[in-house]
């Protein structure tokens, strides 16, 4: 049973790895679709919590995948999920690294970038929406989401503050019985 879960984790994340244009933030809708909707491995709430922990920790956000693996199958889940998510894209990057000298300044690379960046940004916005839908169960949460988005958009402050404010507001709301 456990090995079939590990196999599913490996296949699911390895496929995601190769379409993760723009990194982990682009794959959240698909992660959510697979983990919550299709496989039913966890609830909306748990998914949102794991994502929140990954955002609050330093390092690349792709680690949310490690956390999902760990939550589902312990250490082996962590290892399988992390490797499955990183290996395919890293091998591809390594290959391109070898022919990089020939690619630098190539026009088609610039065109490809111009074509892919809007997709990455659209996917990131979709990630935010999916996260908000998984999390925002009341007005306070909606206000926190909107406020953080505005803070990030209009200021250059380190976003870790927004996450800290989110925690404080959550605790305050709990004590006030909101």
């Amino acid at each position: 049973m456990n090995s079939s879960l590990l196999g599913q984790l490996a296949v699911t994340f390895a496929a995601l790895s190769l379409v993760a244009i723009g990194g982990a933030n682009a794959v959240v809708p698909e992660l959510h679709r697979q983990v919550v909707t299709v496989q039913g491995w966890m609830t909306d709430g748990t998914f949102a919590h794991l994502f929140a922990i990954a955002q609050a920790a330093p390092g690349p956000n792709v680690l949310v995948v490690s956390l999902i693996g760990w939550h589902l199958a312990g250490w082996s889940g962590l290892a399988v999920a992390t490797i499955a998510m990183c290996l395919p894209s890293c091998l591809l990057t390594f290959t391109f690294s070898r022919i990089r000298a020939r690619l630098v300044g190539a026009t088609w690379l610039k065109v490809l970038q111009a074509a892919l960046v809007p997709i990455a940004i659209g996917l990131m916005a979709a990630s935010g929406l999916v996260m908000a839908r998984a999390t925002d169960s009341n007005l306070l949460h909606v206000a926190l989401t909107a406020g953080t988005a505005a803070m990030v958009y209009f200021t250059r402050r380190n976003p870790i503050w927004a996450l800290a404010i989110g925690a404080v507001c959550g605790i305050a709301a709990y004590y006030l019985g909101l």
Partner: protein, 190 residues
């Protein structure tokens, strides 16, 4: 094979040891609270002078076209640049080591105390803010890009497919990338 001895790239380091690679990327992973990207440039270009600005920009632009997190791709390429495949593994390992350890400590705490209503309320708050963080970052990147009409159109389609309709990401990307490529070429030739 290894172009680290190429003298034409004089502004950058000719040799970086495995230990230095590991330490540099370890620091990057540790400092990357709220975004590693700014720290990557600071450490690789300004602090350690492994690469000059242009080399770094080239690596980053290739890293952003390839799938996977930009910073992970940068670590693979910078590692390979100085120490070949082993360098890639060491750089990536350095980048991931500290964040993974911190993350696991946090996850263990979550497993122990995550059921407490107070902790639940706090993490719910963080999750709501994290969603806003992602939305705000996307909007900011969109603004910085100064998008053309085609770029706005493609970005909205990606948002619609993945976010609203919740189609499988593989189909959204495979379907949209060629369309975006064609429209981008068409727009640039007009």
């Amino acid at each position: 094979m290894n172009d680290s001895i190429d003298i034409s790239k004089t502004a950058s380091a000719g040799y970086v040891s495995l230990g230095e690679l590991f330490k540099g990327f370890l620091k990057m992973g540790l400092c990357g609270f709220g975004g590693v990207a700014a720290w990557a440039h600071r450490i690789v270009v300004e602090e350690r002078r492994w690469l000059n600005d242009k080399e770094y920009a080239d690596i980053l632009s290739l890293g952003s076209v390839l799938p996977g997190p930009n910073i992970v791709n940068v670590s693979v390429m910078v590692g390979d640049r100085f120490q070949g495949p082993i360098g890639s593994i060491v750089a990536l390992g350095g980048l991931m080591a500290a964040p993974l350890a911190i993350l696991l400590a946090m996850a263990t705490l979550y497993d122990l105390y995550g059921n407490l209503p107070l902790v639940q309320a706090a993490i719910d708050g963080v999750a709501a803010a994290a969603a806003g963080l992602v939305i705000g970052t996307a909007l900011k990147m969109g603004r910085r890009l100064r998008p053309t009409r085609v770029a706005i159109f493609i970005g909205c389609l990606a948002f619609l497919g993945a976010g609203i309709l919740q189609w499988p990401l593989v189909w959204v990307v495979i379907g949209l990338a060629p369309v975006s490529l064609m429209l981008t070429v068409w727009e640039s030739r007009r």
